[in-house]
């Protein structure tokens, strides 16, 4: 830039209070010697509306084109200062801030030392300011349409919520009909509503909504692009369609599996899974044999799943009601950390279901005369072994990722956790987010959730999508990350190491290209690039180099 640098330095003594620790006249006299500083102002509360307005108009009047502020932590009022600069017509990124409160006045009790450090920090900020370049913002328009992958309950909830928020939704389901695992359940106890009634109602509403399009027997073939404009190829039935979406919600659910190896036995007519029992209870046909005694085993296939506990409660009660069977539940830990579960547990007990708890030693299961024998040591009965035989034994299942997860994850470039569910570890900070902006995850495809939580997750994902897309455009800083196409050798390091998949190959320039709308500004790419082709604005080599000057001995 050819224009002359005119620096304006604004110091704030925080209501006069910092002057006890910092010698502001000394700072001023030191800064006055720097020729390109055109103005030095001392305010008492730079963060206040009055001082901000004054500063803003001064910047305009004096033609200041770089601003240095010595005040409190940028975490507090940086945005406010930038706002004032913008109002005065100056690009807000031409600001260099020295944190002389939290990093000097408040932590270095010797006045001379605090002052010395403040001077140094300000000198660095001044040097830094000279290198600053404006970052322009740009509104990127985004498509408000949303694709939801998975027509189970969380996907349907997300679709309904988004449609209410005025988004056009495409709901993709692999099977012929919507509903997912919900369709296999015979009851949603303790909820009064039956799964059928709930599903029928939801599907009815879904079908009525003009802005929801349901595609069944459909699968995702290809996904390109970024937040705001994902180009998606879908195969629905026998046709292939290409569409654009602003955001994607993955709600593909989970799978369950009988862990044969942990039980050491095979399923049979007498040893069945909860899902088989659900189906049997759901059908109105007569059972070949009325089970007099039913046992439910928990915590063997999966020690952690909450689904098995509630399903044993539900199915145990149902069997009791329908056949008057004796019902026993064997478990290691009752999973009661769901709203209202303790009460339900007590009710199940009051209705005559008998509980046994085993420890590290698993129950022994054997067959004899068409009966299934369960032997165990119970927590409360101690060494006295419990020995019971059943007509029907319901074993628990392990919650596992679906087979398609890896494939979908690689299509979408999203990460899996160590158990191969979606979402890597640190997303506890962002519950329904994936590593990519604009792709969200909901329901049991990302975590072991009970039914109400699965519903809630779908809504949370809808909320997150809406928040991102509702204005129809996203304001992004352009050139926040700068790639020097001449230096880039397309080693692909940045593309591989960007945690947000925000870097692509520019086919024309034959260089890496940062997609501003997807970039979150971490600078990992710049840290990696072996050709020094990437700089993060505000943290360029020059800017960091200037800050390191602090370490040189005072001249």
């Amino acid at each position: 830039m050819a224009e002359d640098i005119k620096l304006g330095v604004y110091l704030c003594d925080c209501g006069g209070t910092l002057s006890k620790e910092i010698d502001f006249p000394e700072i001023q006299s030191r800064l006055e010697k720097i020729p390109d500083i055109k103005h030095i102002g001392l305010a008492h509360s730079l963060c206040s509306t009055g001082d901000l307005e004054r500063t803003g108009s001064e910047i305009g009047e004096k033609g200041i084109n770089r601003v240095v502020i010595g005040a409190c932590s940028p975490r507090l009022y940086e945005a406010r200062f930038m706002g004032a600069m913008e109002k005065s017509g100056l690009n807000p990124h031409l600001l260099s801030l020295a944190n002389i409160r939290e990093q000097c006045a408040w932590v270095h009790p010797h006045r001379s030392k605090a002052t010395q450090k403040a001077v140094k920090q300000l000198e660095m900020a001044v040097k830094n300011a000279r290198f600053l370049e404006p970052i322009e913002g740009e509104a990127v328009s985004v498509n408000r349409d949303v694709l939801i992958i998975g027509g189970g309950i969380s996907g349907m909830e997300a679709a309904l919520a988004l449609s209410e928020l005025d988004h056009k939704v495409t709901l993709l389901e692999r099977e012929k009909v919507l509903g997912g695992r919900l369709r296999d359940l015979h009851s949603l106890y303790p909820l009064e509503v039956t799964p059928e009634a709930l599903l029928t109602k939801k599907i009815e509403v879904l079908n009525k909504r003009a802005n929801i399009e349901v595609m069944t027997q459909a699968e995702l073939l290809k996904v390109e692009g970024q937040l705001g404009n994902f180009k998606v190829q879908i195969r629905a039935g026998h046709s292939q369609i290409t569409r654009s979406f602003g955001a994607l919600v993955v709600a593909t659910g989970c799978d369950t599996r009988f862990a044969k190896e942990k039980y050491g036995l095979e399923l049979s007519d007498e040893i069945i899974t909860p899902l088989q029992l659900e189906r049997m209870l759901k059908s109105s046909e007569d059972w070949p044999k009325i089970p007099q005694k039913i046992g439910f085993l928990l915590d063997i296939s999966d020690e952690f799943s909450r689904i098995s506990t509630i399903s044993a409660f539900r199915n145990g009660l149902a069997a009791k009601r329908r056949f008057g069977s004796e019902v026993y539940i064997f478990c290691k830990n009752l999973k009661l950390d769901t709203h209202g579960m303790e009460r339900i547990y007590r009710e199940v007990r009051n209705r005559g279901v008998i509980f046994f708890k085993f420890g590290e030693k698993k129950p022994e299961i054997s067959r004899a005369n068409g009966q299934i024998n369960v032997q165990l040591e119970d927590l409360y009965l101690g060494k006295e072994r419990v020995n019971l035989s059943f007509d029907l034994l319901v074993v628990d299942e392990q919650v596992i990722p679906q087979k398609g997860f890896e494939n979908l994850a690689s299509l979408l470039h999203i990460a899996l956790d160590p158990r191969s569910f979606y979402q890597p570890a640190n997303v506890h900070l962002y519950p329904v987010a994936s590593n990519r902006k604009g792709i969200f995850l909901a329901g049991s495809c990302r975590a072991d959730l009970d039914f109400p939580d699965t519903v809630a997750d779908g809504r949370a994902a809808a909320e997150a999508v809406h928040q991102l897309l509702f204005p129809g455009e996203i304001w992004v800083d352009v050139r926040k990350v700068m790639v020097d196409a001449d230096k880039c050798v397309l080693c692909l390091t940045c593309i591989r190491s960007c945690p947000h998949r925000a870097i692509e190959v520019d086919p024309v320039k034959k260089a890496a290209k940062v997609v501003d709308v997807a970039c979150q500004g971490c600078g990992i790419c710049a840290g990696e690039c072996p050709a020094k082709a990437i700089q993060l604005n505000g943290f360029t080599d020059q800017e960091i180099g200037v800050q390191l000057e602090f370490l040189k001995e005072a001249v």
Binding site: S45, L76, N333, R343, K357, G359, L379, G382, H428
Partner: protein
């Protein structure tokens, strides 16, 4: 377009999350908090990272607090309480009582001159709130301030360069008109004294989970109150104030198993020699990634399925814990130097009164009642929604999800 205003009651994780979500959607939000600062319980919680992050989620808070404090769409009404609510969805009229806090948060720059001017010995009667608090304005400790002991003193007021201190301030009333209300009043930590046989408050080496939070936050590590040494034999007792019908808390608090295991890892990270036993009823391990965490804990924590009946001191520094050891099936007594009571989540004592003011139903055990498990942010009153632990126990991620959902329901109700 007319601004849709929303009242959020409670400035903890839930209230802040709802407020921020609503503000992001362009709604004008009034966030009422009865304490002088927002943040709620979680602001006194510590990071539980050991060799790596243990996913307690406490660190999401400082950023959210800062964001809520700076957001132009959010007005913070601290030291304030809702006294009256009239009207209906879309048009609620709310009366708010604003306590005199004597320090104007808009003017105070947290410089600390007032503290120096205070004639009292340490601790001074005017002091900064907790680190990172929003607003950062100093707070007056009425229990110590001379003015509240009937004496004349204006030292701090005279010294304040910002003119932020005003002892003539009285409590004020404020009327607000809002379209919807989010109730996010949170929870009370169970008072461990109610379980008298555990001797909390009587034996110094019996602490609660909350004590651990605060000690780790302010001290970085734990030392035994009795002798100042790091604890070697630690017992965690689960379900203190949870799953206990006798005291009226017949529910699982959801958070205690997890925080106890996280604390155990942290204690052992700081002192690999420390032996830890966890007495529990049933381990609750819901939550993303917690199963893996439990697997890691298995090797280093001794788990005993059974809740002790009594704690009694055996020496100045040692505590005897009596429990039924399930596998031999006999009563045992073991000695520990620290016993941590994993206290749970109780409904707010004021919940009954608040429910009356708001006209909403009180449900099981004294938490606010939601419409049904699938609409657990909606109440019997249209336009009033629930967020967070005031509806029932939740951990931080769940609270965030719930509060987000509440915000969504508000947006729907306003459109």
């Amino acid at each position: 377009m007319e601004e849709k205003r929303v009242l959020v009651i409670g400035g903890g994780v839930a209230g802040i999350t709802s407020a921020l979500e609503l503000a992001h959607h362009g709604k004008r939000v009034f966030l009422v908090e009865k304490e002088p600062n927002i943040g709620g319980h979680a602001a006194s919680f510590c990071c539980k990272a050991a060799e790596k992050c243990n996913k307690c989620s406490v660190c999401v808070l400082p950023e959210k607090i800062g964001e809520a404090g700076a957001h132009p769409q959010i007005s913070l009404l601290t030291a304030s309480e809702v006294r009256e609510v009239n009207g209906e969805a879309g048009d609620f009229r709310v009366k708010i009582a604003r306590q005199a806090r004597f320090v104007d948060p808009d003017r105070c720059t947290a410089c600390g001159l007032c503290g120096e001017a205070c004639p009292l010995e340490l601790p001074k009667a005017i002091h900064p709130p907790f680190a990172g608090a929003v607003p950062s304005a100093f707070v007056v400790d009425r229990d110590r301030c001379l003015r509240f002991q009937g004496k004349e003193c204006r030292s701090c007021q005279d010294k304040c360069p910002a003119g932020a201190i005003d002892f003539d301030q009285t409590s004020q009333k404020m009327d607000l008109e809002v379209g919807a209300i989010v109730v996010a009043t949170g929870f009370d930590v169970f008072d461990a004294r109610e379980k008298a046989l555990f001797g909390y408050g009587k034996y110094p080496n019996v602490m609660t989970g909350l004590d651990l939070e605060e000690r780790f936050l302010h001290g970085g590590s734990i030392f035994l109150p009795s002798n100042g040494k790091p604890p070697q034999d630690v017992a965690f007792i689960q379900c203190v104030g949870s799953r206990d019908e006798h005291i009226g808390n017949g529910y699982c608090s959801k958070v205690c198993c997890k925080y106890a295991m996280r604390f155990s890892r942290l204690l052992q990270y700081q002192n690999p020699e420390a032996k830890i036993t966890m007495f529990y009823m049933d381990l609750q391990m819901a939550g993303k990634g917690f199963a893996d965490f439990y697997e890691q804990c298995k090797g280093s924590i001794r788990f005993v399925q059974g809740i002790p009946v009594e704690i009694s001191p055996v020496s100045e520094d040692r505590l005897g814990v009596r429990f039924e050891d399930p596998w031999p099936g006999k009563i045992s007594e073991e000695n520990y130097d620290l016993v941590v009571l994993s206290v749970g989540i109780s409904p707010r004592k004021e919940a009954r009164n608040q429910a009356k003011i708001l006209g909403i139903n009180l449900g099981d055990f004294g938490f606010f009642d939601s419409l049904n498990p699938l609409e657990n942010t909606c109440t019997n009153i249209e336009g009033i929604f629930l967020a967070g632990c005031c509806q029932g126990p939740k951990d931080i991620p769940e609270t965030i999800a719930h509060s987000t959902q509440a915000a969504l329901r508000v947006i729907r109700s306003l459109s």
